[in-house]
Every structure is written in structure tokens, then in C-alpha cells.
Amino acid sequence: MSEETIYQRLENNGVSRRDFLKLCGTLAGAMGLAVPPLEASGLPDHLLTENKTIHKIARALETKARVPVIWLEFQDCAGCSEALTRSQSPTLIDLVLNTISVEYHETLTAAAGHQTEENKQNIMQQYAGQYVLVVEGSIPMALGGAYCTIGGRSAIEILEEAAAGAAAIISTGNCAAFGGLPKADPNPTDAKGVWELITDKPVVNIPGCPAIPEVFTGTLAHFVIFGALPELDDLNRPVTFYGKTIHDRCLRRPFYEAGKFANSFDDEGAKQGWCLYKLGCKGPTTYNACASIKWDAGLSFPVQSGHPCLGCSEPDFWDGGGFYQGQSAPLNRPAATVVGAAVGAGAVVGAAMAANNAAQKKRAVQASEE
């Protein structure tokens, strides 16, 4: 990897100054920063003043080298990588991929075996304290980590080694962030999210199943450009993207308020686009940007296309009640036999107390008669 700046690299790839500034505007948008439209239009340099957002971004790209990224996959399905590489916002994703250099990625790297592992070791030494560590997939802790090993080493060992030299860690997807599917009850591998295991490094969670590509790249861009992580909520998620619920921004919300619900997936309500609450929508408690950024270049998102939100950006969403059961329904119902037993127990205790009282009364009456 050369030490050319990001801007030089773009320039060498034939990106004009004007396009470069436009791209800076795109980046600002991706990070959720407010940019006045005039500024975002790619004004000539000399019209930009020092403290303008885009200028700051341009400065950073002009002076900084690409940030090396090491991407580890543990108990995952590579869905987050898939979503990112097949993302429908090519300019944005390209741009971000231009600002970083992915040095190690099990699915994307062409080479394989000991060669890549060696390369990873070199990168970790060369860029100690500088690289961004991206983790996809949960880490199994049961049986000494035996459920997931790469090259004979356990996931936790690999993670701890890579985390030691990382400037920051990004957990992409619900698995890396909160344990995801592998952690679902009964969690046979004792799967854990990264932030439960690595506590001495900043860890950003970008949960989702998969993570929204634009949210991942926006967060990464923020780190590359400002050299710091964005503001996080109490689950370490960037507030810009996870500050509002799906329900807050849902296009079906007026129907919720009016009490108009789809009762099945093919009834009149479903055809009319009514609210999916009764079909199990978890929108009210799910914090993510699906309803605003959407998927496939803003084409649609699950609730828009008629499927209730599953809550995939929340911890333990697999155990958060049936996907098609209303959100307010209790998580577990006591079995009829258990309810019967409770009623029976209450009745028996009641009868025993009554009998005892009756016996006492009888004794008292007898005593007074004697």
C-alpha cells in the first residue's frame, strides 16, 4: 500500500476537482451531516470557506492516506459483505471503498491459506494502532472457542489479537454486534457480540440483518475523515442512523393512528397498505434507518413492501416474540396445564384454609358449649 493521499488516488483515477467536491458532498450526506444545497452542488474551491463541512471533508481527503481495514468473519453468513458489495448506490460505496484499503477479508481476498494469514500479520504490525477492524459474525465462547476456528485458531483468539492493534472496531450486522442468530435461544455455542468481549477499544455497533450498507459506509467514512467515531447511543450505535425508530418514520403510521390494520397478508387492509402491527411489526421498538435510507438505492424497505419489521437491529431479536405475533403479546404464554395447576393450587389452599377455619369454629363452639 502506497502512502498517496486519498485525493491523489482519486485524481489518478481521473476524478476531476469539481467531481471530487461533489463526492465530498455525497460523503457528508452519507454521514448524516447537514449540508446546505448550494455547498453540496460542488462550488469551486475558492468559494468555500474554512469551516464549511465539505471543505473539512475535502481537506481530510487531500491530506490523509487510505485507512487500512482488516475484516474478520466469524459465525456469520457473509450477508453484510454481500449487502455492501452488491449495494445499489455505486458512487457512494465506491467512494468509501476508495478511502479505505481492505487488506484482509476472507470472502473477498483472492489469495487463501497461510499466505493471507501471513499477510494479515504483516499488516497488523505495519499499521499497528492505525487500522480499522471490522468484525462480521458472532464469537462462540463454549468449548474453549472450538465452534469456530480458522487455521486452527479460535475466533476469540483471532479477535483479541487483531483488536489489540486496532484504532477502532466496527461490528457489522446483528451477529457481531449482539450475537445475532447464533445467539438465539438456546445459544448452543455461547455466542457473544464483540463489545461484550473487547472492552479496551472503541467498538461501534452497526446492527441489522444485514447492516444497511449506507449506514456502514457512512460510519466508516466518519472515522476516516474526522479520525473519530460518531456519537453513539447506549448500545454503541451511531445516533445519526439509529436515533429514530422505524415506527417514527413509517409511511404506514397514519393507518396505525387511525386503527386501520392488515389482519392477514392478503386481506383488503394489506392491499390498501394499512399498518402491519397486528401482523407482528416490531417497528415501534426498532431503531434503524430503514424507513429513511431504505434499501436498493432508496427503492423500498420491508414495511413498505408489505412485511412487518422483524426488529433486526435490536439485541436478541430472534427471541423477541414471534415474527408474526403482535408486539404487545406476551413473550411466553404459560401452558394450559400450568394455568390449571395454578388455579388448582389456589383452590386447594383456599379449601384447606376454609376447612381449617370451619374446624376451628366447631372446636370453639364445642368449647363454649362444654
Binding site: A258, G259, P315, Q325, G350, A354
Partner: protein
């Protein structure tokens, strides 16, 4: 522990435990009352017991409460009559005809029913909360009521009030994040479920008992309630 896991606890294991205590406790109360028995009345019946029961319910439960001027409570204290009625009306519209609550019943009973639009339930809930505050105020100021209200009465009020306000605030997305209020709503509901069998809020069951028994007596004696 974050709010999401706390919510899962209050919606899951805690709710389940509360529900079992509730049904077990109510069964206990029911058996105790039934086994108290009541003295046989050897006088010959002057009328039909069933007719007495029907009449009692019609008049005492379905008609008279909605015809204020025949109720002594209304004549003595219209505010208490109205506030008490409004409170129960709002309560039932929310917990039976509100969509989230119907889904609770549905998951427990296996069947659901149509619900009211949110704004209607919401206004009735607001009225219900206001009515509860009025009732509390009256309890705090009326000398007789004050005298007969012990800690249990104040707790009755509080433990019913908490689910009402947390539910209301939650619906309006006020002050806190939704799952925080959802957790508190569930927590207060769980506490209420445990409290009901221990307290006079179990009147929702005994009310029908006393009505029925009075109806039987009235019918037998051929008097109009």
C-alpha cells in the same frame, strides 16, 4: 442490562409469573368466598330466582348506572358518580378495545376481536386518568373517605394509576424512548396483576357474585331491587 433486555424480562418471565399468581390468587379468593356459604332460607319462594337475577343485572348493572338520577351516588355526589363511571369506561375501552391489549388477549385466549381507532381509546384513556386524579382528590379531602382509606386504598389507586399513565405516555412517545416506557408499563402491569388478588380490586369478580346473590334473594322474595 439494557432496556431491551429488561423489556424482554417484564414481557416474558415476570409477566408469566404475575399471571400465574393472579389466576392462582383469584382461584383462592373465589374458593374462600364460596366455602363461606350462606345461610339457607327456609321461607317459601314468592318468585323466580332467575327473574330476580336478570332484573338485578338489567337494572343495577346495565341500565341504572347510565341513568344518573335514579342512583343515590349521583344525587349525593355527582362528581364521584361521573368520575367513577368515566374511569371504568376508559379502563375497559383501553384494555379490551385497544389494539395492543386485544393482541394480549388474543395470544392468551386464542381469538381476537375488532378494536377501536387509537384516537377514541386515547381520549377515553385521558378522561380515565383525569377521573382517577379527581377520585384521588376526593378521597384525600372527603372526611369520611379519608377515615376509611388505609394504605391498601392508596396502593389500589397507585397501582392502577401507574399502568394507565405509562400506557398513555408511551402511546404519545413522550419523555422517554418507547422501550423504556414499554418496560415500565409492563412492570406496572405485572405488579398490578400480583396485587389484584390481594386487594379489593378483585371486586371485578366479586361484584358479579354479590349482584347474583342479591338477585337470587330479591327474586325469591318477589321484591324489586
Amino acid at each position: 442490562m439494557n432496556w431491551t433486555t429488561f423489556l424482554q424480562f417484564t414481557r416474558g418471565p415476570l409477566f408469566q409469573a404475575s399471571l400465574l399468581i393472579f389466576v392462582g390468587g383469584m382461584a383462592y379468593r373465589l374458593v374462600r368466598v364460596v366455602l363461606l356459604g350462606w345461610k339457607g332460607d327456609k321461607a317459601p319462594a314468592k318468585g323466580s330466582k332467575l327473574a330476580g337475577v336478570v332484573k338485578t343485572y338489567l337494572k343495577g348493572f346495565l341500565i341504572f348506572p347510565f341513568v344518573p338520577w335514579v342512583k343515590r351516588t349521583f344525587n349525593r355526589n355527582p362528581i364521584i358518580y361521573l368520575a367513577g363511571g368515566l374511569f371504568h369506561l376508559g379502563l375497559f375501552s383501553a384494555i379490551i378495545l385497544g389494539t395492543p391489549h386485544m393482541l394480549v388477549w388474543k395470544s392468551l385466549l386464542g381469538f381476537g376481536w375488532p378494536t377501536l381507532p387509537l384516537p377514541i381509546v386515547d381520549w377515553l384513556s385521558a378522561a380515565s386518568i383525569a377521573a382517577m386524579i379527581a377520585l384521588l382528590f376526593y378521597r384525600r379531602t372527603n372526611p369520611v373517605l379519608k377515615l376509611i382509606s388505609g394504605p391498601a386504598e392508596w396502593l389500589n389507586w397507585l397501582l392502577v394509576f401507574l399502568p394507565m399513565v405509562t400506557g398513555y405516555i408511551m402511546t404519545h412517545h413522550l419523555f422517554f424512548q418507547y422501550e423504556v416506557l414499554f418496560s415500565l408499563h409492563m412492570l406496572s402491569v405485572d405488579v398490578l396483576l400480583i396485587w389484584i388478588p390481594l386487594s379489593r380490586i378483585s371486586h371485578f369478580m366479586f361484584y358479579f357474585f354479590s349482584r347474583t346473590i342479591h338477585g337470587v334473594e330479591f327474586g325469591k322474595r318477589g321484591v324489586t331491587p
